[in-house]
């Protein structure tokens, strides 16, 4: 066995991703968050080839206490358990340390605490933004700013957009990368979204559109920011020995979430370099190399987060992402690294926390991605968020 500490077995070998399911996805859906959640869970369990009676682990991200934005719509874990008449042996509403959507359930399954665990993330941020007349301030659901946000919200860093924008400022400054180059990330992903019937935005986007778009928080314009939406994603994680009973499991080659750096957006020491620790930790668990990756689903809450992963995972060198994405060929569906083939959060919708990215990686590896299928996709890279909330994984065909 490669890449492991002496005497240990990779926990990745003890579980598979067995099912992914999504509710309807849109900007302003006329369904409650609870119903979207139920839709996604039922779809994911059926997708796995299982029934609800098989589910004995239950988790959601984030937990019930974390609702810093209107439109966090997971529902209540107990109510979901009750509505579906489940008898979980393990459950978790995790708040901090998301690293990868399936990490917590995978640990429970790998430890034998559950055989089939489902985790979900439900957002109604699209309708919440619509009701508020615009994307609302982060933390606006609470009367005062707690924890690290106490140093950000009061001075006017009222959104993750403002909190992450200085990273893009610093990155462009250090490496001389331009907005004209980085525009190709949202532009190319929009072209992918046109082939995804569930994407929120599918109208063609050009570099000119990008450069003419209004600034939100410099240097990030409207199209550098993901699109708030309504929708739920559920993922089922199963014990590896159940694979023969599953419809189409996906194998996890390597997964790592490293909790590194100062856990506050403004205190990260080196804003030009983000995610390297998680990427290193992941590559240490596999003999595969960046050149083996057929398709990449890299977190894109903002354009710059994709840049972090492209460089940290070694698809290009530090400061080279601008040249790598320029023109869009390399990251297109027939390029060397097809990127966010569902449109990503920038066009597909902000399903949040890597849930949409994992769902798409699974579809691509199964050959179930329809018009946007990458031919012969056998290895998919997933990156979630970045910096102090960073997780990376390689998923492979069963």
């Amino acid at each position: 066995m490669s890449g492991t500490a002496a005497g240990t077995e990779l926990f990745e070998r003890r579980f598979v991703i067995s099912g992914v399911g999504q509710s309807a996805i849109g900007r302003d859906l006329n369904q409650s968050g609870f119903q979207l959640t139920i839709d996604a869970i039922l779809a994911a369990v059926a997708d796995a080839g299982l029934t609800l009676d098989d589910i004995d682990g239950l988790a959601m991200f984030p937990g019930g206490g974390a609702a810093n934005l209107p439109g966090y719509a997971n529902g209540n874990l107990y109510e979901v358990q009750d509505a579906l008449r489940l008898s979980p042996r393990w459950r978790q509403g995790s708040v901090e340390g998301m690293v990868l959507p399936f990490f917590g359930p995978a640990l429970a399954v790998a430890a034998g605490l559950a055989r089939h665990a489902v985790i979900w993330r439900t957002v109604k941020e699209g309708s919440a933004a619509h009701k508020a007349g615009g994307r609302p301030a982060y933390g606006a659901t609470k009367p005062a700013a707690d924890g690290p946000l106490a140093w950000l919200l009061p001075v006017g860093m009222l959104s993750p957009v403002c909190q992450v924008a200085p990273y893009m400022t610093r990155y462009m400054h250090e490496f001389g990368v331009t907005r004209e180059q980085l525009a190709w990330i949202p532009v190319t992903q929009r072209a992918h979204a046109a082939l995804n019937p569930d994407a929120v935005y599918s109208k063609p986007l050009t570099v000119e559109d990008y450069l003419n778009a209004r600034m939100i928080s410099t240097p990030m314009c409207l199209y550098d920011c993901d699109v708030p939406c309504d929708g739920a994603t559920a993922i089922v994680v199963s014990a590896v020995e159940t694979a023969p009973d599953l419809r189409s499991p996906v194998r996890i080659e390597a997964a790592a979430g490293l909790v590194e750096g100062r856990p506050s957006w403004d205190q990260w020491e080196d804003m030009g370099r983000v995610g390297y620790g998680a990427a290193r930790a992941m590559w240490a668990r596999t003999d595969l190399r960046p050149g083996d990756v057929d398709v990449a689903q890299l977190y894109d809450g903002f354009t710059i987060e994709c840049v972090w992963w492209l460089e940290a995972l070694g698809f290009c060198g530090p400061g080279e992402a601008g040249a790598f994405v320029e023109g869009g060929q390399r990251i297109g569906l027939t390029g060397q690294l097809p990127l966010n083939t569902w449109g990503g959060q920038l066009s597909g919708g902000r399903l949040h926390a890597g849930f949409g990215h994992v769902a798409e990686a699974v579809r691509q590896l199964r050959g179930e991605a329809g018009a946007r299928q990458v031919a012969g996709a056998e290895v998919a890279a997933v990156g979630n968020v970045g910096g102090f909330e960073a997780g990376a994984a390689l998923l492979t065909r069963w």
Partner: protein
């Protein structure tokens, strides 16, 4: 001189036992961080423990003089009703205070003139909830 952008619309800080001294000093226009009695390292935000040696004997030290902008953004989006925009937010470090980075607004120049490496002076201005918030002043 640039137009003054009001900073009082927003979300106030939740004050804890660890951060009360910072906000009290801010009300007097003074920027204080924690300094370790054992090793002399400075820590921010204040947590009552040294980030360098984990010593628990922390005193407050005032930062005066010139800071340098590590990075910045100019916010144009009206995240809350009545929020005045645009304004620049700067992440400021201090040559004589390694390990300390403080985020605040920028005054004294149009927000579009913010640059990495520009020098600023410590300052405060009225912020949300009656708190004085860090508001650095561009050095001409």
């Amino acid at each position: 001189m640039s137009r003054h952008v009001d900073a009082t619309v927003g979300i106030p800080p939740g004050v804890t036992e660890e951060t009360a001294a910072f906000w009290a000093a801010a009300a007097d226009g003074r920027l204080v961080v924690e300094r370790c009695a054992a090793c002399g390292a400075e820590s921010f935000p204040p947590r009552g423990i040294c980030r360098a040696c984990r010593g628990r004997g922390m005193a407050h030290v005032e930062i005066t003089g010139i800071g340098r902008v590590y990075s910045y953004t100019v916010n144009y989006q009206r995240w809350l009703p009545d929020l005045e925009v645009p304004y620049a937010i700067v992440l400021v470090e201090f040559d004589d205070h390694p390990g300390v980075r403080v985020t605040g607004r920028l005054r004294g120049c149009p927000p579009q003139e913010a640059t990495i490496g520009m020098t600023v002076q410590v300052g405060f201005e009225p912020g949300p909830g009656g708190f004085a918030i860090p508001s650095f002043v561009a050095v001409r």
